[in-house]
């Protein structure tokens, strides 16, 4: 595996990204749960959240 590391290795800070990824995962989990609870009380808006989906592979 060739690595052209021309940024210093600390730039990627593996540990930090592990924590951030885990925290974002937890936030997402919390948000989904909260939205699920909210959906019982609030009327769903029309689906317009697919605007970025065309960017998916």
């Amino acid at each position: 595996m060739t690595h052209l590391l021309y940024l210093d290795p600390g730039s990627g800070s593996y540990f930090l990204q592990v924590i951030i990824a885990a925290a974002i995962g937890a936030l997402f989990y919390f948000k989904t749960g909260w939205n699920w609870i909210k959906s019982f009380f609030v009327k769903q808006p029309p689906e317009d959240s697919k605007k970025n989906n065309n960017e998916q592979p």
Partner: protein, 455 residues
């Protein structure tokens, strides 16, 4: 003997370098980057990003100009008429550049690749929008790797944007001081406490400042990063940056035409004279010095490549927004203080060129500017004439005499040491370098317009 040399700013990346040959720009691609480059093409990523105008297209050329045995291929990217730097951009320009960088990282991950660097130096503005110019920035992503450019992205984009939002700091000044980006430790110290309650800022700035570049930990052995993790980080950064906006602030300059004593009749008359003169001259490049909100830049030929400069970032921010809204793509607004233009910086003072050395225009506009330079900054008329003659071949310039209310305002609370600030002296200074082609007094004022051509 081969006299070709790599561009002075292109020496850090072992994957290749940029060079100039016969007035064209080329990129040498090394064998070391062969597999990455092949993936960039075969995954369809290159084609997709070019189609959307996100990256600069290139032509692949089978010529080894350096006769180097490390040569893999040569690229000839499309021409960019003017290179600008982040230290000359307003808030929204940096924000758009940040969002483009994140979008590219995300698109790359969808195709099993990743952006290996995320600096604002890889972004230029072309036809009114940011475009990524470093074709060697994409490499294959291997599951388990982190995003090597994460910290660089935060320092170059996120941190200056946050400081602008929470501290009214101007991004161009921050990036003049911190050429390679503002470190998390400095940003974290300056941001108010309430930002610790925002998950995005807490994670990407405060936590980063706390952890620094810690790499060896048991945690990293327990949990391996995946492309999905990196996508989450990138999407999180995207939504964080998307939400950042600066308040429209009133400065002396961004309401100059709306609120000052300048009458509408004077402005209309000035616009008519400039418009009629513009039809009589040929130019394909132009600079508007002290463009304010670009009212006069917009009179210039739509086929000409125009740089609209002002030292007030609020004006450039408004201008950038209105150009975007009106889809005007030939004008590049930049925050430039002509009395302190961008210096040459980087290794050997050659990596980033000074504003003056990048400036060579067919036409210059200097409207309602000369009194700010001569009286506001004590620059002599001959010095001003000399600088203008260095950067433009033709010049439309407005002389504003001492009895003008604006100049009178400037002199109200200071001693008048400007004996030589008079129309005769102005003409003497400028005719040292220029021939006057046209001269006309602007109705409803005591100001005079000149069209000049360099001797």
């Amino acid at each position: 003997m081969n006299s070709l040399k790599p561009h002075p700013a292109s020496f850090r990346d072992p994957a290749g370098f940029v060079y100039k040959k016969d007035e064209s720009i080329y990129r040498f691609v090394s064998n070391k980057y062969k597999e990455e480059f092949t993936s960039f093409i075969t995954t369809g990523l290159y084609k997709e990003l070019v189609a959307e105008g996100f990256i600069i297209p290139f032509e692949q050329i089978a010529e080894n100009h350096f006769n180097d045995k490390e040569w893999f291929t040569t690229l000839k990217p499309n021409y960019i008429p003017f290179i600008s730097y982040a230290s000359e951009w307003c808030f929204d320009q940096l924000k758009d550049a940040a969002l483009l960088t994140l979008k590219l990282s995300r698109r790359a991950l969808y195709k099993g690749m990743i952006l290996k660097d995320a600096t604002h130096l890889n972004i230029q503005f072309l036809h009114g929008a940011p475009v990524h110019i470093d074709s060697l920035s994409f490499e294959r992503y291997h599951e388990g790797e982190s995003w090597a450019a994460y910290r660089q992205f935060c320092e170059c984009f996120l941190n200056p944007l946050l400081l602008a939002v929470y501290h009214n700091m101007e991004v161009h000044k921050l990036l003049t001081a911190y050429k390679e980006g503002v470190p998390a430790s400095i940003t974290s110290g300056l941001l108010p406490f309430k930002t610790k309650l925002k998950p995005s800022i807490l994670l990407h700035v405060h936590l980063q400042a706390k952890l620094g570049g810690k790499t060896n930990s048991h945690e990293t052995k327990k949990r391996k990063l995946t492309s999905k993790d990196l996508l989450h980080i990138i999407q999180h950064l995207e939504s964080c940056i998307q939400a950042l906006n600066i308040k429209k602030t009133k400065s002396t300059w961004n309401n100059y035409y709306d609120e000052t004593i300048l009458s509408t009749n004077y402005l209309t008359a000035k616009r008519e004279i400039v418009t009629s003169w513009l039809t009589t001259i040929h130019y394909s490049t132009a600079v508007d010095l002290g463009a304010n909100k670009g009212e006069f830049s917009e009179l210039l030929n739509k086929n000409a490549s125009v740089i609209a400069t002002d030292f007030d970032s609020n004006c450039i921010q408004s201008l950038y927004g209105s150009l975007k809204n009106n889809s005007i793509t030939n004008i590049l607004p930049l925050v430039i203080d002509i009395t302190q233009p961008t210096p040459a910086t980087g290794w050997n003072n050659e990596e980033q060129q000074s504003f003056v050395s990048r400036s060579q225009y067919d036409l210059g506009l200097a409207l309602a500017l000369i009194h700010h330079l001569a009286i506001g900054k004590n620059i002599s008329l001959i010095q001003i004439a000399q600088l203008f003659s260095n950067i433009c071949s033709k010049l439309i310039i407005e002389f504003i005499p001492k009895d003008d209310p604006k100049v009178a305002d400037m002199l109200q609370n200071r001693k008048d040491i400007f004996e030589k600030y008079a129309i005769g002296e102005f003409e003497n200074a400028f005719t040292t370098y220029f021939n006057v082609i046209k001269k006309e007094g602007i109705p409803h004022s005591n100001r005079t317009l000149y069209l000049m051509e360099k001797k």
